[in-house]
């Protein structure tokens, strides 16, 4: 197991350098002059301009800039945004908000997927199963941003159950609506996985043996049917956790949530190279770690899996 974790972490090294290099290159090739963009409508005098270019190492060749950036990154200095705040600080503000949103969304997703999948699987072919599948199909066909506008308009604005936008006040109670909307657009895959596994498990030999022991379905369903079926659902949900951390830009934009997605969006529009690269680098590392954890979780859930 230890060997496996070590190997996975070693694999992460080339991924890390590959991503940062690619990102740095893309940001470097973006059109427009970042120093001019800093000043907006005004034009800086030449001395100031040259000083800033030197300060941000923009006069150096690409590879040197990249290496200087890597040096900073490894010493824990993620750079400064054009507005003068340190990127570390900006990240520390934005990350907890996104983490909260994503955690909530993933919990909702898991409950929906496991719960509805179990019901559907146990009643396969019956009315409740058919209804469940149709609803899932409809939800799955609606693009996420459309679903979010619907939720915002009908539930927040129409019924007033949740604030229309979140703004600076990002708490569990203000963010449940965007989290639930994310979950509703995502749970379908997990639900179908669960449904399929439940149908398979129901007719498995070990389930028949469990009944033959003298157990009632009150025990057989949770212990032998649901427990075995949860394995793919848990890993699927956990994998979406990693994807969501970096992928909530649209949600955060629509609901005006001051999380990573929104900061990243603003940085891209503003052409703030260091901010973009730093953020994406951190997200890449987190994504790699979450994926390793998902794989390990798999081994915990299924004793047959051993990593070598």
């Amino acid at each position: 197991m230890l060997r496996y974790i070590l190997r996975r972490l070693l694999q992460a090294i080339p991924v890390f350098f590959g991503t940062t290099f690619l990102l740095y290159f893309m940001v470097f090739s973006m059109p427009g002059d970042p120093i001019l963009a800093m000043f907006g409508d005004r034009t800086p005098n030449e001395a100031l301009y040259n000083q800033l270019v030197a300060q941000y190492n923009l006069d150096q060749p690409f590879v040197v800039q990249y290496l200087l950036y890597m040096k900073d990154l490894f010493t824990g200095n993620l750079g400064v945004t054009f507005s003068g705040r340190s990127v570390n600080e900006v990240f520390a503000d934005a990350f907890p908000v996104t983490l909260m949103l994503v955690t909530m969304a993933v919990i909702f997703e898991f409950i929906l997927a496991a719960g509805l999948g179990l019901i559907s699987g146990l009643r396969a072919g019956k009315f409740s199963d058919q209804l469940n599948l149709v609803v899932a199909l409809v939800l799955n066909s609606i693009p996420a941003f459309v679903a979010m506008f619907f939720a915002q308009y009908f539930i927040a604005l129409g019924l007033g159950w949740a604030p229309v936008t979140v703004g600076a006040n990002a708490t569990w109670s203000t963010m449940w609506l965007p989290a639930l909307t994310i979950a509703l657009t995502l749970y379908v895959v997990g639900m179908r996985l669960m449904r399929g596994s439940v149908i398979e498990a129901r007719s498995a030999d070990y389930v028949r043996t469990a009944y033959a022991k003298g157990l009632t379905s009150k025990r057989v369903v949770p212990v032998h049917v649901a427990r075995n079926s949860l394995i793919p659902v848990v890993t699927n949900t956990a994998a979406s956790f990693g994807a969501l951390i970096a992928g909530t830009t649209v949600t955060e934009g629509i609901f005006n949530i001051p999380g990573i997605g929104k900061v990243l969006y603003d940085a891209i529009i503003g052409g703030e190279g260091p901010t973009i690269v730093s953020f994406v680098t951190i997200l890449t590392i987190m994504y790699i770690i979450v994926n390793i954890l998902v794989d390990l979780l798999y081994a915990v859930l299924d004793p047959r899996i051993r990593y070598v």
Binding site: D205, Y206, K213, L215, R219, R304
Partner: protein, 582 residues
């Protein structure tokens, strides 16, 4: 915990029941399954009774409804099945009329169940201990953590699981098939039921393991006066273990009575066919079909055909086609962390197979027989030693040379369901080796497919069908046709008949014998079943832990086994000590 604590519980006392009052009464039982093509009647009007303490065997081919009858007794039919007529009375209670709770009380406590496949009948995600404790708790055998644990260990020890205490925390995948079956026997007998249903309890196990498991079931049930319903496809096994035999065919009972009487004097033609096809009774090797055979509804009497073949074999004994010298294969097995261990799967094995004859490589699983076969097929590289096929060294061959050598030996594998690609038509499957080796053009290949289908006695129309439309026996014929496509000299048959029912098995063995005479084929026959060896092989090599411990002509080995291991394998053949009335 010391052994003194684990004394025999009150629950394990023998049952004191009226021997004249039936425990189980099955009256005009009908079971049907709902399928897309309408209802399928799997059991059609079955009647029998089981009295306390007696052992009853239901014998039949797959699809005869024997397992369905057994599951109907416990009301555990699969979702689309139901009792559509008649009654099952367990201690005078109609199982169809019991509610879920009453039925759960009956299962485990009154009826214990030992299923067929030990691999799939334990839940892979829970420890063995968890699953045994669950059974103990469900039947109210013990309450409280410690008592439940103690009883669970006791149950496993009674089932013959060595160091049960230590193994409680292990998971099913860490157990061998025999150990898992012991766990299932422990679960089935744990609540000291009055009836034990054992559904093919050993058909997935090695012969020697099979014997110890059956002995264990017999001694436990006899001591407790437990009735046993044994479901099996093996008539020899049924006769050996049961006092009463019920023969089922297509959902109906065709014959029932005391087991010795049925074996000595079978009345129904189907029972006679089953008896005749059982390899355990054929005393000699079979040859090509004899002309006068073919009466009596296509009865294949292995015993009589075998005689004809005998003289032929000697005439054939020509030069060696396959020569194996000091063959060794060492696998490196990871032991966690950075440690690894060497396992010698095949250890200095030498043998020869002569042209037109059959050598049987016999042994239990893990004896290295399949690894040896894989090396001869060039699918595995030997660690050391020499293999020659028709005078060409195989172990040194590479690339094109190896590719050409492959034409000369072809395999047929055990599982006809897994060895044919479900996405391709039968014609395409048989043609594939020809295409790979660029033999002929599309038209000549087509003609060859028809020829091959005819050789294996399948209609040529089958070329356009798909594997899922075929029965197990038909599929194995297709696999044989594919192996013959390139006109090989050697065919390696790796447990090629082990997965088949007796009647089908007899047909395939006959086909193989016919093809051998017709095409002068050389067979390397890998099997764990000595009963089959007797009817197909000219020579036998017995393998144990990677080594050949005994070798000789089939008659020699069977008449005069020198090694205790061989003798054990021979003794394990079910029904070996019974007089058969054919």
């Amino acid at each position: 915990m010391t052994t003194e604590v684990i004394t025999t519980s009150i629950d394990d006392q023998p049952h004191d029941l009226d021997p004249n009052k039936p425990l189980v009464q099955v009256k005009d039982l009908e079971v049907s399954f709902k399928t897309q093509g309408g209802d399928v009647h799997a059991v059609r009007g079955v009647n029998f009774e089981i009295y306390p303490g007696e052992t009853v065997a239901i014998v039949g081919e797959s699809g005869s409804g024997k397992s369905t009858t057994a599951t109907a007794l416990m009301n555990l039919l699969p979702g689309n099945g139901r009792i559509s007529g008649g009654q099952v009375l367990i201690e005078d209670k109609d199982v169809a009329k019991l509610n879920q709770k009453q039925m759960a009380a009956l299962r485990g406590h009154v009826i214990g169940y030992v299923p067929q496949d030990p691999m799939s009948n334990l839940n892979p995600v829970w420890s063995v201990g968890f699953q045994v404790r669950e059974a103990v708790r469900a039947n109210g055998l013990a309450t409280g953590r410690k008592e439940v644990e103690a009883r669970a260990v006791e149950v496993l020890q009674q089932a013959g699981l060595a160091d049960a205490e230590r193994r409680m925390k292990q998971f099913p995948h860490q157990f061998s098939g025999g150990m898992r079956q012991r766990v299932l026997i422990g679960i089935g007998l744990g609540a000291n039921p009055k009836l034990l249903i054992a559904d093919e309890p050993t058909s997935a196990l090695d012969v020697t393991v099979q014997k110890t498991i059956l002995d264990r079931i017999e001694s436990l049930t006899r001591a407790r006066n437990t009735a046993v319903l044994l479901i099996t496809h093996d008539l020899g096994l049924a006769a050996e273990r049961a006092s009463k035999v019920i023969v089922m065919h297509k959902g109906k009972i065709v014959e029932a009575g005391p087991s010795r009487a049925i074996l000595a004097d079978p009345q129904h033609p189907y029972t006679r066919r089953l008896l005749a096809a059982a390899p355990s009774i054929a005393s000699q090797r079979i040859g090509a079909t004899v002309a006068e055979d073919g009466d009596d509804e296509g009865v294949i009497e292995l015993a009589s055909i075998a005689k004809e073949r005998h003289e032929e074999a000697e005439a054939h004994a020509g030069k060696a086609v396959v020569e194996v010298k000091d063959l060794t294969k060492v696998f490196s097995i990871r032991r966690g962390g950075f440690k690894s261990e060497d396992l010698t799967a095949v250890d200095n094995v030498s043998f020869e197979v002569h042209k037109g004859t059959t050598l049987a490589l016999v042994g239990e699983s893990g004896s290295g027989k399949t690894t040896a076969a894989r090396m001869i097929l060039g699918l595995e590289t030997p660690t050391s030693g020499e293999i020659s096929v028709g005078g060409t060294r195989l172990d040194a061959a590479k690339g094109k040379e190896l590719f050409d050598l492959r034409r000369r030996m072809q395999p047929v594998f055990q599982d006809p369901y897994a060895s044919l690609d479900p996405q391709r038509s039968i014609g395409a499957i048989i043609q594939e080796p020809l295409k790979v080796h660029k033999v002929g053009n599309a038209k000549s290949r087509q003609a060859r497919v028809e020829e091959l289908l005819e050789q294996v006695a399948l209609p040529s129309a089958l070329a356009h069908r798909y594997p899922n439309e075929l029965s197990g026996g038909q599929r194995q014929r297709v696999a044989i046709a594919r192996a013959l496509a390139l006109k090989p000299e050697v065919v390696v048959l790796d447990e090629a008949v082990s997965a088949l029912d007796v009647l089908v098995q007899a047909q395939i063995l006959q086909l193989l014998a016919d093809l051998q005479t017709e095409l002068g084929l050389t067979y390397l026959f890998i099997t764990h079943d000595l009963a089959v060896v007797r009817v197909v092989a000219d020579e036998v090599a017995v393998m144990e832990q990677g080594k050949i411990v005994e070798a000789g002509t089939t008659d020699e080995v069977f008449a005069n086994a020198k090694q205790p291991y061989t003798q054990r394998l021979l003794d394990a053949i079910p029904g070996s000590g019974i007089d058969w009335g054919v």
